[in-house]
Amino acid sequence: MNKTNPLLSVSDLHAWYGESHALHGVNLEVFEGETVTLLGRNGVGKTTTLRAIMGLIRKRTGKIEFEGKDLMRLPLHRTAYAGIGFVPEERGIFATLSVEENLMLPPVVSKGGMTIEEIYKLFPNLEERRNSQGTKLSGGEQQMLAIARMLRTGVKLLLLDEPTEGLAPVIVERIGEVLKTLKQRGMTILLVEQNFRFARRIADRFYLMEHGVVTTGFPVEELDERMAVLHEVLGV
């Protein structure tokens, strides 16, 4: 793991929803091949951080660099081509598209993505239901589809917003396996997650967010000794 040059580096990131100031100077780094989890209570700006990195929130200041390239100046549709894929919290499966159309929708942004056969091997359910309407899938299958469609594109970094939210334990298990597989293949992941047990199994490092800033960061090995503090901050 190359610890000198981060793949993604965010410094002093501020973001606004209209007039309301949501991020107050976020600093974080993600290195190649790492899985990093953002922790924090609801409303501290975790989702906003992902959306600001992706460029979905345009009212933002600070610095976002990906492989040394400045992302702040890129229009929204160029950010993906830098090599970043986004899986939104609400999953964003299109109702007017079939499962396969949903899967094929995001353009391939660079080489090295999975082929459709590989994807179907990883997600056999999706192949079975390739001709169904996207939103007819179960919540778990929709989440799989939302992740799967980013794998074709050849992105290096996945931004995953609460992939286990509202899903049954069996499905959460399955998503954990998928993310591990991706990790083995060298995918870098920045994850927002409330589910501790899930996060500790796949994350290499954690960042804790409070009131629109990152207050602390630590590797997974320190998770147990920080548990007491985390319980207090997160209220879990």
Partner: protein
């Protein structure tokens, strides 16, 4: 004789209804596509239809270019003006209330219509059908002018083709997805602003195509679009803009209904579509194919 109506008159009016329906279908299809992506009701659609007819007329009058090349050129010209308008003006209105788009394109329609009235007056210009389609065929029960038969067939092909483009192609998948959630599609790397520009261009091009096809049927006149567009609005209210196929079917059905009314109760033929709209609003406020109440 059917219900005391000569069979020839009945089929004659049904054909007129089918012809009108073809134009309703093509125009409401364009309106629905534009509305789906841009969330703008294109009031200038009627004016762009007029522009298509005039493009055909002017190509012939000033450049000697006939119907068949004009059938390609007129929609392209109208589509290009649409692209310019979208880039210069409409793209600035997307974040505002949708009604501003309606008001802007209403102003645009007034300007286009006014300019052509200034140069060509209100009386129509004749535009003959191409020699290939001149004359007609006697079907035994009625006389079918060849050009009209062509209009019905061509409009069906155009409507079905557009429907297939949207439902079955990659570009169509982008359009459908962007209609649902434009920012996510853009975050995936699709150039949505470009897609919006193209959609408006294609929608306007469809109006222009309908216009050049209409030129030999109706007179080419500056006012040909404004009265039509209000009827097409009623068609769109009846069909609902959620469904492309719904817009097409409603267009043909209401055209036929209008034709039938001309046979049985001619006084009401100009308002029958509005009456149907009122009835649909009472019974199914969301429209026949509409999901959006």
């Amino acid at each position: 004789m059917i219900f005391g109506i000569p069979i020839q008159a009945l089929f004659g009016q049904l054909l007129v209804g089918l012809i009108n329906g073809s134009f309703y279908a093509m125009l409401s299809l364009g309106l629905a596509i534009i509305f789906g992506m841009l969330r703008i009701i294109n009031f200038a659609h009627g004016a762009q239809y007029m522009l298509g007819a005039f493009a055909g007329y002017m190509l012939l009058a000033y450049a000697g270019i006939g119907y068949w090349p004009a059938l390609i050129l007129a929609p392209i010209l109208v589509g290009l003006t649409g692209i310019v308008i979208e880039r210069l003006a409409l793209s600035r209105l997307y974040n505002l209330d949708h009604l501003y788009g309606l008001l802007f394109t209403f102003g645009l329609a007034l300007v286009l219509e006014g300019v052509f009235r200034y140069y060509y007056g209100v009386s129509g210009q004749a535009y003959s059908p191409p020699p290939l389609l001149a004359g007609g065929t006697n079907l035994g029960f009625m006389f079918l002018p060849n050009y009209r038969a062509w209009v019905v067939v061509a409009s069906l092909i155009i409507c079905l083709g557009t429907w297939l483009l949207i439902e079955k192609t990659k570009l169509g998948a982008y359009l459908r997805a962007a209609t649902e959630n434009p920012s996510l599609v853009q975050a995936f790397g699709v150039n949505v602003p470009l897609l919006l520009t193209l959609t408006y261009g294609i929608g306007c091009g469809l109006a222009g195509l309908a216009g050049i096809m209409a030129a030999p049927v109706y007179q080419v006149s500056p006012l040909m679009g404004s009265n039509l567009i209000i009827v097409v609005f009623a068609v769109v209210v009846v069909g609902g803009m959620g469904s492309i196929l719904g817009a097409i079917i409603t267009g043909y059905v209401l055209g036929l209904a209008e034709g039938l009314t001309k046979v049985f109760y001619p006084e009401a033929s100009s308002i029958v579509i509005f009456v149907i709209m009122a009835i649909v609003l009472l019974l199914r406020p969301a429209g026949l194919f509409g999901k959006d109440a």
